[in-house]
């Protein structure tokens, strides 16, 4: 069985992460992984809620060491945590304040430097996608799938050429993109990971300033747009990686010119992980990473690959220019992508209609992107006896805030046709009706 190492750093004193302005070496990182692993049970599941990236990476490595599976819930709403608790008994929680490990800033004993390796078929993580039933669908990821896709994507984008670069990411690491393109990209390619997740443009600038050159910024279209609009001065960048939703070509060009660094995008989904990359300024065409192949049939486009299990039907409309090259035409009808977070209308409708007091309800994706800010969903509900505030409060406990409807309108009835269906036209008319719901 093929095995892949936890990290790609060559020596014990190579820098794995920067935390609080100080470097953490590979030796110190591995010592922390070992120390935490000794305190975890063997096997089972770990809910790694650490926001500190170094702490998360230590927890992820320790879980791998013990053969435990890290769960990546789509959100941390109370409802989701309750479901996970029910589904995975004796789930171990790791948090920023659990005190289970201390990363020493002192260089570790160099003679003891040995990087652990894990078999390619060991299940490392479970990501969740929103099924149409309202029940999150687990997607098991083997260590081989994660390591090979991150190595393939990094190589396709030229990351190895940058050497021991520093990496700042603006995305959370508790989902596939963040896990792959922040945590694992840094660990597998021997980069130095900034332990914080900067939020405001000023934070991003100062985080980058704490790293030496070369510097990599991993971000999303929403963050990139605000970063450019803010006009904050950034330290010299050498590479920008953007994902979660396709970037408008003009924004990609603008970013390359103003930030003076090449910008690459990654395409993928929770079911498959990273599949393809492109340098948006140069081409609209995506190139599959090494070992990934696509094919189309009546149902849509299927992805398979050397390190993927079976074939996966992709939720996007894709035009193939070859088995490894394609143009992306947007999402399939039921799919929604709000600020890079994916869900389906069926999933959201299920949650709306399962709220006590809701007789009928529907989420609607407005037609036009306003071009200003992030697009939001709207929703209509028939819920006599409930106020908009109460309904919103209950939705908030069930679904990710990005999908909360704006507006949410209470109506007397939904405009269902004779067969009970809601047509796009009828919903658009309802949406444009200025009468406020009460």
């Amino acid at each position: 069985m093929t095995r892949f190492p936890l990290i790609g750093h060559a020596t014990a004193d190579a820098v794995v992460a920067w935390r609080g302005g100080r470097p953490v070496t590979a030796g110190a990182f591995l010592a922390a992984v070992t120390a935490l692993a000794e305190r975890l049970p063997t096997g089972g599941h770990v809910l790694n809620l650490r926001t500190d990236r170094l702490g998360f990476a230590v927890g992820f490595g320790a879980a791998l060491t013990r053969g435990a599976i890290s769960l990546l819930p789509p959100n941390d709403t109370p409802e989701m945590l309750r479901r996970l608790g029910d589904a995975y008994l004796s789930l171990v929680h790791l948090t920023d304040s659990d005190g289970l490990d201390m990363v020493s800033h002192r260089p570790a004993n160099v003679t003891a430097f040995e990087i652990p390796t894990f078999p390619a078929d060991q299940v490392a993580a479970i990501a969740f996608t929103s099924g149409s039933t309202g029940e999150p669908m687990p997607q098991a990821k083997t260590w081989g799938t994660l390591a090979r896709s991150v190595r393939g994507a990094g190589t396709a984008m030229g990351i190895p050429v940058l050497g021991a670069a520093g990496l700042v990411g603006t995305v959370p690491h508790q989902h596939m993109y963040g896990l792959e393109s922040v945590i694992l990209l840094a660990l597998q390619h021997g980069l130095a990971l900034h332990a914080r997740r900067p939020f405001y443009p000023e934070d991003i600038s100062s985080a980058l300033g704490e790293l030496g050159s070369p510097r990599i910024l991993v971000t999303t279209p929403v963050h990139l747009r605000t970063l450019l609009a803010d006009g904050v001065r950034l330290p010299k960048l050498d590479f920008i990686l953007c994902a979660t939703a396709p970037l408008a070509p003009q924004l990609a060009i603008d970013a390359e010119i103003r930030l003076e660094a090449p910008l690459h995008e990654i395409y993928g989904c929770s079911e498959t992980g990273q599949l393809a990359v492109r340098r948006t300024r140069a081409t609209a065409e995506w190139s599959c990473i090494d070992g990934v192949r696509l094919r189309s049939d009546d149902q849509g486009t299927w992805a398979s690959g050397d390190f993927l299990k079976g074939e996966t039907l992709l939720a996007d409309v894709i035009e193939l220019n070859g088995p490894e090259r394609f143009i992306l035409h947007g999402r399939a009808a039921d799919q929604v992508n709000i600020a890079g977070k994916r869900s389906s209308l069926a999933y959201l409708n299920h949650h709306l209609n399962s709220i006590e007091g809701v007789v009928d309800g529907v989420f609607v994706m407005p037609d036009e992107d306003t071009g200003q800010g992030a697009r939001r969903l709207a929703a209509f509900a028939v819920a006599p006896g409930l106020t908009v505030e109460t309904l919103m409060h209950r939705l908030r406990q069930r679904i990710d805030p990005a999908f909360l409807p704006r507006p949410l309108r209470l109506v007397e009835a939904l405009p269902r046709n004779a067969t009970g269906k809601l047509t796009r036209d009828a919903l658009t008319r309802l949406f444009n009706d200025p009468r406020p719901g009460k």
């Binding site: 900067p198 939020f199 405001y200 443009p201 000023e202 934070d203 100062s206 929403v222 963050h223 605000t226 609009a229 803010d230 904050v232 600020a339 306003t370 800010g373 992030a374 919103m392 409060h393 908030r396 805030p401 990005a402 909360l404 704006r406 507006p407 406020p436």
Partner: protein, 91 residues
């Protein structure tokens, strides 16, 4: 609620900026200046906060930072946010 928690003029201007920036379906004067902006209350999420921070930077020249000691309380309410802006605004 406006009788209980009435807004001063800079607060109303800030409320208008937030409503306009995010296309909220609420009148600026109906925002409770003491209610939370994030999560429950006005119901903003992190994407909104980024948008509002950008608008504040453009309008008032005040750049928000996560490592401000009082960052957690800045978005606690319209009133707190306005206080923060007034304190840090270029004279």
């Amino acid at each position: 609620m406006s009788e209980v928690n009435s807004m001063v003029r800079p607060e109303l201007e800030l409320a208008t900026l937030i409503v306009d920036t995010l296309n909220l379906e609420v009148a600026p004067e109906d925002i409770d200046p003491e209610a939370p902006l994030y999560g429950e209350g006005l119901g903003l999420d992190s994407i909104d906060i980024l948008e509002v921070a950008l608008a504040i930077s453009k309008t008032y020249g005040v750049k928000l930072r996560s490592d401000d000691a009082d960052n957690v309380t800045i978005f606690a309410s319209l009133r707190r946010l306005n206080d923060h802006i007034q304190r840090h605004k270029a004279a």
